[in-house]
């Protein structure tokens, strides 16, 4: 048996511990990071664009599915007529080659698909992940072993490959965006389940959970009132980083032609033939690619900001220009002695 004393650390401080937990301080810390704020604004704008897509296209007077053959020069292989790929007052960003569909409308509706699928897939992953993670941590040894083994297998499955193959075999009658959501959600919940399990195990051992048992509360109520709130932080952090990943995956699948299929627009899908058309219609490449880039970047920065706001101690060392200070109480972490 180890001689290291479980009980005593250096006497605890008898001065109040600084650094409040709670929602208010979270918002305060989030607001303090300018990059995350900018990112949040960008994300909010994107969400608005996606939500109000029909309104925006109505303003323009177009829709994403109507073909406009008159705007295409089929003699030259389908290149849009006019300069800048057919930009005009009626078609703010021009038209798509070969089909003549309005680019702005497709872009704006594509936002719906990209954001919607990514968010929905994230929700699926989080729900499954929490369920499995908590069940694993609170269940008997056998349950834990079994579920952990299942989780390991899921984690080992390469997301792209499996999604690719799965999407191929389901008949097209099934609504595509929903299918993509389900496929991504069902294949990639492994990591979050692991995080939830680890955190639940830690929380389970905390004294205040034992105290709740002593008070007389039952397991369900303890899980709900004491454990779940403790999971909020790591789950939100990870979910915030999952969303941009899911956007990239959906875009990649649509790019390959197995994700969202035409006529439903998706940014990845719009890039499928972009290398062929970029010379004649550069915006055909620029706008979807740019939209993807900006979206994923904003979400990643926001996710970083959320992580820092939720756990400033761990993140302070990672932040740019945080100075050469050691984290307060690193290592010994006992009392206020530096």
């Amino acid at each position: 048996m180890s001689e290291a004393l479980v009980a005593t650390q250096a006497p605890g401080t008898d001065t109040p511990v600084p650094g409040a937990s709670g929602a208010r301080s979270f918002w305060r810390r989030l607001r303090a990071q300018r990059a995350a704020l900018v990112a949040a604004v960008v994300v909010a704008l994107l969400v608005l664009v996606a939500l109000f897509a029909p309104l925006l296209t109505a303003l323009e007077g177009q829709d994403p599915t109507t073909y406009h053959p008159s705007l295409i020069d089929s003699a030259r292989g389908g290149v849009p007529v006019g300069s800048f790929g057919g930009m005009s007052a009626h078609h703010w960003l021009g038209v798509e080659p070969q089909t003549g569909r309005d680019l702005f409308a497709r872009l704006v509706y594509g936002a719906r698909v990209s954001l919607g699928v990514a968010l929905a897939a994230t929700v699926v992953q989080v729900v499954i992940g929490i369920t499995i993670g908590v069940a694993s941590a609170l269940g008997s040894r056998w349950v834990d072993q079994f579920l952990s083994r299942v989780t390991d297998i899921i984690v080992a499955m390469p997301l792209m490959i499996m999604s690719l193959a799965l999407l191929a075999i389901v008949p097209s009658s099934f609504p595509r965006p929903v299918l993509v959501t389900l496929v991504i959600g069902l294949i990639a919940w492994g990591n979050i389940a692991k995080i939830v399990r680890a955190q639940t195990l830690t929380l389970k051992g905390l004294d205040y959970v034992s105290a709740a048992r002593l008070s007389g509360w039952g397991t369900w109520r303890i899980a709900r009132r004491e454990l779940l709130p403790g999971l909020a932080a790591p789950v939100i952090t990870y979910a915030a980083l999952l969303v941009p990943i899911n956007i990239s995956v959906e875009a990649a699948l649509s790019f390959l032609g197995v994700g969202v299929k035409p006529p439903t627009p998706s940014w990845g899908q719009m890039l499928t033939a972009a290398d062929v058309w970029y010379q004649a219609a550069p915006q055909y490449l620029l706008f979807p690619a740019g939209a993807l880039f900006v979206t994923v970047l904003a979400l990643t920065v926001l996710g970083d900001g959320v992580r820092t706001a939720l756990d400033p101690r761990a993140a302070s060392r990672l932040r740019v220009g945080a100075g050469r200070r050691r984290g307060a109480g690193t290592g010994s972490g006992k009392g206020a002695d530096a």
């Binding site: 083994r149 390991d152 297998i153 984690v155 080992a156 499955m157 390469p158 997301l159 792209m160 490959i161 499996m162 690719l164 193959a165 799965l166 999407l167 191929a168 075999i169 389901v170 008949p171 941009p244 990239s248 995956v249 875009a251 990649a252 790019f255 390959l256 032609g257 197995v258 990845g268 890039l271 972009a274 290398d275 970029y278 010379q279 490449l285 690619a289 993807l292 880039f293 994923v296 970047l297 990643t300 920065v301 060392r317 990672l318 740019v320 220009g321 945080a322 100075g323 050469r324 050691r326 984290g327 690193t330 290592g331 010994s332």
Partner: protein, 332 residues
């Protein structure tokens, strides 16, 4: 070292079980599909008798577990197929015959494998060197302008989808600047120099994204390690900063990075598929996309299985490397 041997054994057994479970799941998922496999293969214009004929040919009448057993048998010892007229022997490891071309899936995969391996392994070297190097540089130069720039670049790198980078590179480097010709795959055995030149753009597009992720992780890991107590101890004993970092911080910082490499391998494989499609490289990824488009199930299943195999191996290897780097893991 007996603990280590036990550790290796346990991980090995775990990997085998995982592979087995993956094969079952994949087989069941794909062959027990809602859609009528025979119908899909034959096409929408087939008559019911034709569909039935195809079903017979593909032995779809057998119960699922029997089909899986034959499949497993094929992998382990090989099996025979009757293709109407002749009997074809498919030697181990047999992954079935392509619906479209009747070619052995294993042969198909082996033919395409060198391309994919060249792509992924070459990119891996690149991203490890670039990523870890950049990360350490960021950690070293913490707080200065060069670090902020690097952090910004790596952040942008992680945000860009693989195929976008590939597209941009291709357009800029080949299309506009004409620095390189449009990549055409040349086998290493034919002409090593051309092989490398042609793979340069695909390597870069695959590697840059992964490198960005690695750079961020290495930086974070390095900074965290530098704040640990044992670093303080050696500084307190007058050990020079270079020794402190090189001897003491490096190993601790790199251990989690190694572990991540395995995790990333799966996503890198996905990136490889995209890169192959984009640049027209005749590798497994491109073939998989094609097989998916024509619903050539044996090819799809076979390839997914092979890729899954590599991912599990990569995970196991990373686990082992991590245990070598940090012996404490062995006790856990």
């Amino acid at each position: 070292m007996s603990g280590f041997g036990g550790f290796v054994l346990r991980r090995g057994v775990g990997a085998v079980i995982t592979l087995f479970a993956i094969s079952v799941i994949i087989y069941v998922v794909f062959y027990a599909t809602p859609g009528n496999v025979a119908q899909i293969t034959c096409g929408p214009r087939c008559s019911p008798e034709q569909v039935h004929q195809v079903a017979q040919q593909l032995r779809l009448d057998d119960p699922l577990y029997l089909r899986y057993w034959h499949f497993l048998e094929g992998i382990l010892v090989g099996r025979d197929y009757s293709t109407g007229t002749a009997v074809q022997h498919c030697s181990a490891p047999c992954l079935g015959l392509s619906y479209q071309s009747d070619q052995q899936v294993t042969e198909l995969i082996l033919a395409k494998l060198p391309v994919s391996l060249s792509l992924v392994l070459g990119a891996m070297v690149l991203w490890l060197v670039l990523g870890v190097g950049t990360g350490m540089l960021s950690a070293w130069r913490r707080g200065r302008l060069s670090e902020r720039v690097l952090t910004g670049i790596t952040l942008a790198g992680t945000a860009t989808p693989v195929f976008v980078i590939g597209l941009v590179l291709m357009i800029v480097v080949c299309g506009e600047l004409h620095l390189l010709p449009f990549p055409q795959y040349v086998a290493f055995t034919d002409d090593p120099e051309q092989w490398a030149w042609n793979l340069l753009l695909p390597w870069l597009s695959l590697a840059l994204i992964e490198a960005a992720t690695f750079a961020r992780l290495t930086r974070a890991s390095m900074l965290e390690t530098l704040a640990e107590d044992h670093i303080r101890t050696f500084r307190a004993y007058g050990v020079g900063e270079r020794s402190v970092i090189g001897r003491h911080a490096l190993r601790g910082a790199l251990a989690p990075v190694i572990a991540l490499n395995a995790n990333n391998f799966g996503s890198a494989v996905g990136g490889a598929v995209l890169t192959e499609t984009l640049f027209g490289l005749p590798g497994i990824g491109q073939e998989l996309v094609h097989a998916v488009a024509v619903v050539d199930l044996p090819v799809v299943v076979g390839m997914v299985l092979v890729i899954g195999f590599f991912v599990v191996i990569a995970n196991a290897v990373a686990d082992l490397l991590y245990a070598v780097a940090d012996r404490r893991v062995v006790l856990a």
